[in-house]
Symmetry: C2
Subunit: 334 residues, 2 copies
Amino acid sequence: MSGRTRSTATISRVAEAAGVSRATVSRVMNGRSTVAPELAARVLAAAEALDYAPSPVARSLALGRTATIALIVPDLSNPMFQDVLRSLSLAAGEDGHRLLIAESNEHVEDEEILAIEARRRCDGIVLASPRLPTEDLRRLVPQLAPMVLINRKLPGSDVPSLSVDHGAGISDLVSHLLSLGHRKIVYLAGPPVAMSNVERLTALRRLSDNGRQFELIQLACGAMFDNGHAAAGEVMSTGATAVVAYNDMVAFGALSGLHELGVSVPDQISVTGFDDIPFARFTTPPLTTAAVPTGTLGRQAWEHLREQLQGHSSTQETDFRPRLLVRGSTGRTT
Amino acid sequence: MSGRTRSTATISRVAEAAGVSRATVSRVMNGRSTVAPELAARVLAAAEALDYAPSPVARSLALGRTATIALIVPDLSNPMFQDVLRSLSLAAGEDGHRLLIAESNEHVEDEEILAIEARRRCDGIVLASPRLPTEDLRRLVPQLAPMVLINRKLPGSDVPSLSVDHGAGISDLVSHLLSLGHRKIVYLAGPPVAMSNVERLTALRRLSDNGRQFELIQLACGAMFDNGHAAAGEVMSTGATAVVAYNDMVAFGALSGLHELGVSVPDQISVTGFDDIPFARFTTPPLTTAAVPTGTLGRQAWEHLREQLQGHSSTQETDFRPRLLVRGSTGRTT
DNA sequence: CGATCGTGAGTAACCGGTTTCTAGCAGGCA
DNA sequence: TGCCTGCTAGAAACCGGTTACTCACGATCG
């Protein structure tokens, strides 16, 4: 079928049809300076007739650039990475670049190969929350550059890094709770290995120790809905008046578990999350949380990458302060 | 910096280092049959020393294939497409293929260019819920093939198509509601232009007209949380005992709106969704819904694409029956 | 009017691989 | 010993573009 135009036209065929050299066709297709209008018209007519479009692969080889970038994420089911993906794709797309995506599935040992492999097919790479040990990451920089890191710093390197200031987010949440009169707060901890958990916990401890304005109780929990759900009973037995959950999912679980226990939120206990995933607005009651600016992360990642692609070395460590979103899940203590 | 190994090794450099021809290096790198063990070892040693890996771009040009496929989606923020993306990426990745992703942002006129552009950089394409008019789509088949359609049929073409059987899903939901004694059901309709809305509505009408077992009331609504939320009052004024929402988001909104009105679900009214997006399990009460097998869609899309890439033409129209998930949002009518 | 300059277009090298074709060499057989 | 066969490895063409270099031509200037 479609035997005619099939096996797409090449630049040689167009050159032949227009009676010019391949060089001239190339010049015309790229809007290059100097081609006589009459010739250019003939070339364009021939290209049109043959339904010709230059092969991106061949151009990539000749030009040494692919107009493509790659994003490596640990887990595509995480709403945070989905948002980054979306905004990165949008920003890069506006500048005519495609997005290649690879997921490591939280498999640390695949991350390196995946990144190298992906990087070789494109012009730059964004690593979102890489789990790779610092020394490995540092060793990879020459192979992967130009690159941008999200939620990971690499001190001493010249790799731009965009991170969330977890400490500031926690601080805002705690201030909010303190202003509502809470003096005994439970932290539902995330996975101990997660960097973000460590930072959130550290910030909480510092706030509790320094100000001595509230008592901090830490409960091992997890990162998922079910973990938060299961923790509801234990939370109540502490006698705390507020819960700071590791993230929104855990907070959802807690809300659900508390609801089943007949505990009213925020009347009897207040609950906060972290991340502001899309559904945080939609729980009952809507969740007070610290909004991680995922859209900004993706957009800025592209900005930094573009800088590097244009030769301007762009080194910078940026910390984004989450935005406190007060919703219905927090209230004044009785 | 890194001035030594910079500007990655080429096959020529390796050939030179090993004292052989480029052809021989190529044969060794591809594990080709006939190279004397002694030579092969020398080549491998040289490759190792120079940290050489063949350029994917150059290979793509020479071989005429890129080991990459593309996915075009209308909206990356839709959980359904996120799941398809995830499973497609996983399945293709297992067979050594990368995934290029492009989002049309529900902009129909961009869809065609986006698809053609993406297709030229890779070996095949998956179109998820394309909004393109049928004639346009049909015209594009030769340019885009090999391709696979998700949630869209193209009768008369030889393009494999994977769709959700909305009618069957609705039928299961209605049967469930009927078995609980409901006889007056409100449908919160989605966007009139959405194919899935048309199919769901058609199925509802057919069921209502044929069996005469229940009364169907249709309310214009939308596809988002807020639409469902806003419709709660109107729903109650109909006196219906059950709500079939266009999708899970609308159902969430309805749950939330009903909660605010002090209406108890499922005691006073039952609510069902459609899709089983990840958070459907986590609402209060958890949502009874029809689960669209997004994972299967992505995986099968790759299977069909792979078939075509291997030359076996794989034409087929498959309808996936959603799975009824009975949760807490539906109950016996009083 | 001749030398110079600027301009437009073609030639050929290059990007980094793969693969067909061919030549050389060793071994087997008559 | 001579010829045919089979295998290995190199030469060269090819994938489809881009671009440095070159050359011919007409215009400008002295």
